[in-house]
Amino acid sequence: MTAVEPRPQTAEVRASKRTEILENRPVNLDGFVEEWPEKGLVAMESDFDPQPSIRVEGGRIVELDGRTREQFDFMDTFIADHAIDVDTCEQAMAIESVEIARMLVDPRTSRADVVALGRGLTPAKILDVVKLMNVVEIMMGMQKVRSRRTPANQAHSTSAKDNPIQVAADAAEAAVRGFAELETTLGVLRYAPLVAIGLQVGGQVGRGGVLTQCALEEATELDLGMRGITAYAETISIYGTESVFVDGDDTPWSKAFLASAYASRGIKMRFTSGTGSEVQMGNAEGRSMLFLEIRCILMAKGAGVQGLQNGSISCIGVPGAVPGGIRAVAAENLVASWMDLECASGNDQSFSHSAMRRTSRLVPQLFSGTDFVCSGYSGVPNKDNMFAGSNLDTEDYDDWNTIQRDMQVDGGLRHVREDVILQVRNKAARALQAVFAELDLPAITDEEVEAATYADSSDDYPDRDVLADLEGARSVMERGVTGLDLVKVLERSGFGDVAENYLQVLRQRVSGDLLQTAAIFTGDFVPLAAVNDANDYAGPGTGYRLSGERWEELKKLRHVTSAENPEEEVV
């Protein structure tokens, strides 16, 4: 049985023709379940969540959301000791929730004020505030409190066959289409070094300064980062209950230590969490999904990590199945941003069979703008997506571009002419071919380069000798190949511009500039973070507005009839 097979027809009673049509709509392939609040199978409105409270004694928080210090679990302790501002919390907690909710929505309250207030709030209080907000108010809040002024986007570039040439070509295309970050992962983990190299080389061909990462278990991910083969890390998971955190073999202290480890090597990093993970793992301790996610957000803040990927992520089927679940997902993105973290806001996993539901799930992040609207958008056909599919994939590129143009919103992408796409795909494959040749890795044939130029999916490439590739991958690790080695190889094999782009990315480690909140690179290698590009939204006419050159760029689509000569299309 597969997920797209229709539900078994059990009706013994005759149904109307209309019912038959409705029965066969894709939305009815999605799973929906009743709430079960006692067990935490509830989005954000549960009688089993604690009431907000705080008490400070001797400069220390001694009571948090109805628990005293001796009753604290380790999340409470970490949040009380690291996340919440002791000096301001009693004052902040005294403000009525409805007043704080209004401040989030009202453009006349500045981001700085509402963020400062947020530093003194407990998880239950934050939940109490966002529970008062409907989805439009959540979006109003998001457009003000997201940290970076300019929205951006992230792509997945993976291959069902772990084919590094495919990953390179698709990374190049994704980069030229506008993604600021590229993420890959593997089917066969041992392929990681070759695929990560493909991603980095392809990305720097498409657009200099794109940042890349390879999602792996913690130790290997850090290793590739330290070698300079990847530029940042994201899959550092945290959870909202102590029991699930321990099941994941970590604690807030081990993760805080890891956060510093990344920073100590000059590598950008964010944590990952999301609604539904605790109930999915069977230990929600009777709390709502959003309450637990807010604890994750405060834990991340307390650890001093610059950002968080959230928005349910790989558990989206859980909040997606309960009432109000997608509102809760929008709210968790809002809270991450409100807590002054970079927010990579999900929209990154297959979520629904229904195109309408997929779009409506995306609206809060795309229309408000977030630091990364998708984390990420599948830059390969979903069947090649080794994160088990995304909410958007390559088939949706033109729809996305059209929605940007319709609504005059910036989702980070643009339409790119076919000749440009073919050129960067071809160049990425050739650059990787040269790198493989120089490093004595299994050869990339001209036939493979040709395939990469015109391919859609992994089916369109000649099969690689997997065992030989894995041997090559092992030797890359054993020989200690670094990012700098790759720069040299690219330089001496005639890809000087790609080498230069790559060197710029590595050079940035020395400055530590990418460690600041929500940092990305512009095409001119200017770090853009929530420091020099802080969100300054203050109501109509302010903040990020799609205008000028960027708006002209987004007016372009695959087919637009020319006003000057209606017999032709705009190129």
């Binding site: 000791d81 400062a116 073999d249 230590f257 650890a303 020395v510 600041q516």
Partner: protein
């Protein structure tokens, strides 16, 4: 070197490059393709120094991000610790992985060998919480 930094100094690579050095003392502008090709610039140069991390921490704090500033300070201390040892310490901090004595040993080493006092404090804090929450290594056997 005490420098007062504000958000206006960011990005340091563009606005305050004179404050930046590689671990071997080179300036940012010395990291050129020619220098890479000639072997003058090595992988060792492409690391961040503790001084730079402290500067970035100050910028974060000046933007109201206290915890990010603290993280940068811990990171500054950690630059001295070799990669493998950083990973080993991280693994030792996982739940049920270390005894109280083992965590204290790590804290002492952080303090003594690496002058990493804020990192040591984090490890000691973890040890205290792990003891209270029954997350220290124990040999009573699992399920």
């Amino acid at each position: 070197m005490t420098v007062d930094l504000t958000p206006a100094d960011y990005p340091l690579s563009i606005n305050r490059p004179e404050l930046l050095r590689t671990p071997t003392g080179k300036a940012l502008a010395d990291i050129t393709m020619a220098a890479v090709v000639s072997g003058e610039v090595t992988a060792e140069d492409l690391r961040v120094t503790p001084e730079t991390l402290v500067l970035q921490g100050r910028i974060a704090e000046s933007a109201g991000r206290r915890q990010l500033g603290e993280n940068c300070r811990r990171a500054a201390e950690m630059t001295a610790i070799p990669d493998a040892e950083v990973l080993a310490m991280y693994n030792a901090l996982r739940p049920n992985a270390s005894s109280a004595a083992q965590l204290e040993e790590i804290a002492t080493r952080l303090e003594g060998t690496y002058s990493a006092t804020t990192c040591a404090a984090l490890v000691r804090e973890a040890a205290e919480v792990y003891a209270a929450r029954n997350l220290l290594a124990d040999d009573s056997g699992e399920f």
